[in-house]
Amino acid sequence: MQTIARREFFGLMKSAGALGISRALFPSWFPRVALRADKSAPPGDILVVVFQRGGMDGLNAVVPYGDGALYYDRRPTLAIPAPNGGDNAALDLDGHFGLHPALRPLKEIYDAGQLAVIHAAGSPDETRSHFAAMELMERGAQGVGGVGWINRHLQTTAWQNESPFRAVGMGTLIQGSLQGPIPAFALQSIAEFHLKGRENQLATIQHTLSNLYSIQAPGDDVDRQAAQVFATMDTMSQLAGQGYTPAHGAVYPETSFGMGLLQIAQLIKAEIGVEVACVDIGGWDTHELQGGAQGEMANVLADFAKGLGAFNTDLGERMRDITVVTMSEFGRRVEQNASDGTDHGHANAMFVFGGGVNGGIHTDWPTLEEHRLDNGDLALTTDYRDVLSEIISARLLNPALDQIFPNYTPTLRGIVRAR
């Protein structure tokens, strides 16, 4: 189906010569943000959180081929063949599970011992509503108002980080996990993140807008966002001017997910104080014509894995201090539906990779035995908060788990090593 390529928009705008798109100017009165010196930089890993919106089919992403007919009989047209070396078969992990063939870039990280696959994981809540499930998962607890788990982590760190880039949300809307009192930086495009106006008016525009929005003494949350724009625009223009070439020949897919990851890599390498970055990937709500080794879901998986693989390659040695975690609001029904798709289910697979990860399969596998299913869905044996708690405490070095996930006692499962 046709959509209008972003490139076309940008091409169009380049033709608008008189618009005078130019780098922002920075007069002397302009408030500058002093980044903290390296010695007081956050001591732990940088965290990258990927949310797969729509409910990934974990059973076709991480295929339990060892369950045999319990898997294959319920998915006559969708099942991924057991590993046999062929291009359309699962990529073997441990003799029981295999990755979907479109996840080959993740298999390479797995083979290097830096990818943890956590199966039968997710949110224990029973809702099969996308929106209720996402909200709960991103808040991390009931009754915490509009505050997300990442925001509570940032509120409870022992260190301070004054950088306006401390928390980054890629896209036009801020992820629920980032919402709360600690401001997050919403960014769609570094290249576009500057004031557009006539060259000789830009200083005036900046000056007037900063006064109209009272950015020296913000009166409300609108003023505060405006102040945040002024605090970040300078740096974004510098980064845009420098351009960016991924290292080690990494090639990101030209999708919004790929470009989101590329820009996160760019921000991390710029060393401007990024502690947490969130990026989303959609297209997982595969109710119909989901396909097997090829098809709709395979395409989304390929985008997902190529993006993450490129990120891992691009960051190279820097991955020692980075942890990436992926999650989705729920998994999908074991049995396929009449439309060659799968309906909303329960437990799912999560991926964690980075320098501090104990690679391998981490699961208390419930099996697909009829009596072990949860209303026809894969039963949940690992709460996603166990995975996040371990990352937060062991890699991000924040022990305040009782405040980040109130009323929850995590079970630590050895998914990552302590720094």
């Binding site: 929106f131 525009i205 009272s214």
Partner: protein, 485 residues
Amino acid sequence: MIITRRNFLKYSGATTLAITLGSAFTWHGTQVAYAADAAFAHVLNRTTWGFRPQDLKTIKALGIEGFIEQQLNPESIADPVVDAFMARQEYMNLDIKTLSELGADPLKYYYMDIELVWARIFRAAYSERSLHELMVEFWSDHFNVPVGDSVTAKIVYDRDAIRAHALGNFRELLFATARSAAMMYYLSNYLSYAAHPNENYARELMELHTIGVNGGYTETDVKEVARAFTGWTVDYGTHYDYYFEPSAHDYEEKIVLGHTLAAGRGVEDGEEVLNILASHPATANFVCRKLVRRFVSDDPPASLVASAANVFIATDGDIRAVMRHILTSSEFMASQGQKFRRPLDVLVAMLRVTQPKFDDTLFPRYWLDLMGHVPYYWGPPNGYPEPKRAWLNTNGMLHRWNTALSVAGGAVKNYEGVHYNINKVMPVKGSADVMVKKLIEQVLGGTIDEQDKQQLVALLRKPKKKVQRALVLGLLMASPYFQWR
């Protein structure tokens, strides 16, 4: 002092009342001061897509209740600009079969998408039936179907389901969305068969279209509703429209929300489910809460949600009656300045001020893309979010400013992409101070803080220069005052 609705409306033309009302307003952010015309400007900000001086004249002549009543009856309002525009469109007036056949050509399919999105923006900006256009937007989010699955089906859905019933009856609107190719494609029901019914439509029908996630349905209800809708599909290749396929239907008995659907029936199963849901009190509550959130406040007053739901139930879902109740309530009147404009609201308001010509209709679409709000491009079934907290962030803020500056720039010769006549918006007449004052009245329908105004006056050293006036207008539309409604 508490002002009753009747009282308020009776005196709605009177200066004294507007001033009295001022003390009851909750002020949020940097707000426009409206003086005597406060109530008029408030009603225009909420029932139209942005203040226009000519609407102020109309509302003063008709009174508040009269103006709202006129807007509630869009068929009574002449709309020549939009009629002429629609007559020029290549695809918007075609039936689904013709569209489907033409759409086989990828280039035509692409132009259908461009035309549909531009027509949405154009009608929001220039239709005299402003409230109807606001309702179209509300229902387009409520019954969201993105263009991604099928532009051809979406054009027909937008016209025959959403627009036809936007101020009509909720039950008829619900039926029209259910009996549409667009919805059947988007929520997968077109491929649902008795053997393993697809639950996609069944779930969103209850969660998003009618009773809401807390409306009291269970996972079993989802499965039963999915069974009831087996056979609701699309005859792709012949009429390309919704039809009921008896051979795909599950004829066994179903139990939905405590109602037994007897065995042996066909399309009546789905129809009964729609009727059960349309009459369910949770639907009245859920829909009215969303309407109040959109038209009154991000924190909907419980009193108004409850009274609107009562009207909904009493009138069997008469949307016009519900809107009349909401827009003439004391809660509505006391909610001035509480709504933060969404990106589309902001862009459309700018178009109403400048009435520009575009070299290419992709320009406004490009700005909306940067702000994340291209009409009909929200993927999930819940529609674009409504509240301020969803939209207020650094990316959105910056691109609101850039959109304002880009639109306003079109006053100058040789500017590429967008063109308008700034002499109509800001004629050169009197001192710089007077010119800015008049501009603010024309754009916002009120006045702003004097210091802020002087910021703009100072930029107008040579008022004859269009480039300076364009800058002043751009900054006014980028200012915090322009972000609220």
